[in-house]
């Protein structure tokens, strides 16, 4: 957002490199890692949508349940009404946005710690509905036999089964890119500047006539929408969903991604989730130690990079200077 001329090509090159890796990797890795990458892409949408909410300063613990709302919406619509995968993505998003709008009315009256606890309670209330109301939601066991993405046919020419690994992967890439583009655009617009201002000093924003609650609601609902889209993707890929998937453990992972990556920039949380997913795969065979290792990573990051991994590039010149390596840079004004 505030990149200067020197950092622009670097940003561009790194984005191209990232996209190249995502395009080539599925053909190299086996089916297991392909599945990991699909989940990574879906989670990228989740964590990017979470950042929309943190932009106004609230760390919502209801975000993962909102992903679940999108997933349950897609599952129910496809099971009972045969709604297709394509339509279920926006519908899942809208359902989650609707639920987000309903819970944000009381939530946005709270600040800081109260918001934290309030959003946790709202998320648990959503989860309890799935567990209690067995009729549509299937209770603790959740829903099974959800339809997949189906296949893509072009009148007798060819038919592509979208549910097999690589086609679904690229489908996910496409949806993720569209979602990221829209969210980036929102943050980059005037709305993003206003959200940033509200985050820094909400009373000052109020005194200047900015309708603070309206903007916080906008961020919360928009975040809910994209969480719902991600949830719908998830339901159509896993084919089975249950309340436990959207429980507090998953929320903890979301917070971990966001804290490790940092939330100041758009790329921060994405960096966090990619790094942690990669580490998670590397240490997978020490399964029972994984939470401990994550804990250590969290502590190290909080101690040494309190702004998250995203602050790493900015800290490199500082570290170089600290260790006496002369730096040729433009003189500061």
């Amino acid at each position: 957002m505030r990149g200067n001329s020197a950092s622009l090509p670097i940003t561009l090159i790194s984005w191209i490199a990232v996209i190249a890796v995502f395009l080539v990797l599925p053909f190299v890795v086996g089916p297991y890692l392909l599945e990991v990458m699909i989940m990574l892409l879906i989670n990228i949408v989740v964590v990017a949508s979470f950042r929309l909410i943190t932009m106004t300063g609230g760390w919502s613990l209801a975000h993962i349940p909102l992903v679940g709302v999108g997933a349950y919406s897609a599952a129910l619509l496809s099971k009972h009404f045969g709604v297709s995968f394509w339509l279920n993505l926006p519908l899942g998003g809208l359902t989650a946005a609707f639920v987000a709008a309903a819970i944000c009315y009381p939530l946005l009256r709270m600040k800081g710690f109260a918001f934290f606890i309030g959003s946790f309670a709202a998320g648990e209330a959503i989860r309890l509905c799935w567990i209690r109301f067995r009729n549509p939601f299937g209770g603790p066991r959740g829903l099974i036999d959800i339809a997949g993405a189906g296949s893509l046919r072009v009148a007798g020419l060819f038919s592509l089964n979208l549910d097999s690994g690589i086609p679904f992967y690229f489908l996910t890439v496409l949806v993720t890119l569209i979602c990221l583009y829209l969210m980036h655009r929102l943050g980059d617009s005037r709305i993003g500047v206003t959200l940033e201002a509200i985050h820094i000093h909400d009373n000052l924003a109020k005194s200047l006539g900015i309708p603070v609650t309206k903007y916080r609601a906008l961020a919360f609902i928009a975040g809910g929408f994209f969480a719902g889209v991600a949830g719908a993707m998830l339901a159509h890929r896993l084919r089975t969903i249950d309340p436990h998937q959207f429980g507090f453990t998953t929320t903890l992972y979301l917070l971990l991604w966001a804290i490790v990556g940092g939330t100041t920039t758009f790329a921060g949380p994405l960096l966090g989730i990619v790094a942690l997913t990669a580490i998670g795969e590397l240490i997978r065979r020490f399964s029972e130690w994984v939470p401990l290792i994550y804990g250590v990573i969290l502590i190290v990051v909080v101690l040494f990079f309190p702004q998250g991994l995203e602050s790493l590039p900015a800290r490199i010149p500082f570290l170089l200077k600290k260790y006496g390596i002369a730096q040729k840079g433009k003189p500061r004004k």
């Binding site: 617009s189 005037r190 820094i200 000093h201 000052l204 005194s207 200047l208 006539g209 309708p211």
Partner: protein, 252 residues
């Protein structure tokens, strides 16, 4: 008709009466001072006038209309803008972006237009940027427009706070101790800015501790003590008022 009228305004915090049946009426075009010993309720009056607090009793009238229950955002929209006692700015943003955000009331493009960056939005954005430059020039901050606001020296931060309030084109500007922590040179410069703004047509309501600044700048002064208005008049009249002297020198 008075621009802003506080009628029988009262604010109680539990047993403490912070503001006690205060009556103030501010005419268009004046600089009104509000002075009083520490803890006499001046900042509470500002919070009541701008909607950050709800009064326990009494009313706030804006050009004759009751605005007692309106939120700060709504009052800002009507033209009642305040600054804060602590240097209040968006510290992580650049100076110019602070002023651009402060132009929010004059954005008049919907959320969709902002998101889509329509031609209208681009035009409005250019207009706001030009206006921000104008205001920064007026306040003598143009040279530092690309600096991070939180890095400015204290005096400049306070001036930026006023620049931001001006960006929303207030009819009434409430300044809460604008000269706090300033050296005499900065204070004098600030007061000349305030007089210049008055000459440009902005009405101001000013809380300030620096007596010299208050006496030389304000047209009329209201004096508070223990939440009550004890005197009102020109600087000259107030300075001679027995109750005021009593309050400041302490009689009991």
């Amino acid at each position: 008709m008075a621009l802003l009228e506080l009628a029988g305004l009262t604010k109680r915090f539990g047993a403490l009466v912070a503001v006690d049946e205060l009556n103030v009426s501010i005419e268009r075009g004046e600089i009104r001072g509000l002075i009083g010993p520490n803890g006499s309720g001046k900042t509470t009056v500002f919070n009541l006038a701008t909607g950050f607090y709800r009064p326990s009793a009494g009313r706030v009238l804006w050009q004759g209309e009751d605005v007692t229950l309106l939120s700060p955002e709504r009052r800002a929209k009507l033209g009642i803008i305040r600054t804060f006692q602590q240097a209040a700015l968006f510290g992580e943003m650049t100076v110019v972006n602070n002023v651009i955000v402060a132009c929010h009331l004059h954005l008049d493009v919907g959320l969709a237009g902002q998101f889509l960056k329509t031609p209208k939005m681009r035009a409005v954005q250019r207009r706001i940027e030009a206006r921000a430059d104008e205001i920064l020039e007026l306040m003598g901050l143009l040279e530092v427009k690309h600096e991070v606001a939180g890095d400015l020296p204290h005096g400049s931060q306070r001036v930026l706070g006023i620049a931001m309030a001006l960006a929303s084109q207030p009819q009434l500007l409430l300044l809460d101790e604008p000269a706090a922590g300033m050296n005499p040179v900065e204070t004098e410069r600030l007061m000349s800015i305030i007089r210049m703004l008055r000459d440009k047509g902005t009405t101001m309501f000013l809380v300030e501790h620096d007596m010299k600044a208050v006496m030389s700048t304000c047209d009329r002064i209201t004096v508070m003590d223990f939440g009550q208005g004890i005197a009102e008049g020109t600087p000259h009249e107030v300075a001679k008022n027995a109750a005021v002297i009593e309050a400041y020198l302490g009689g009991g």
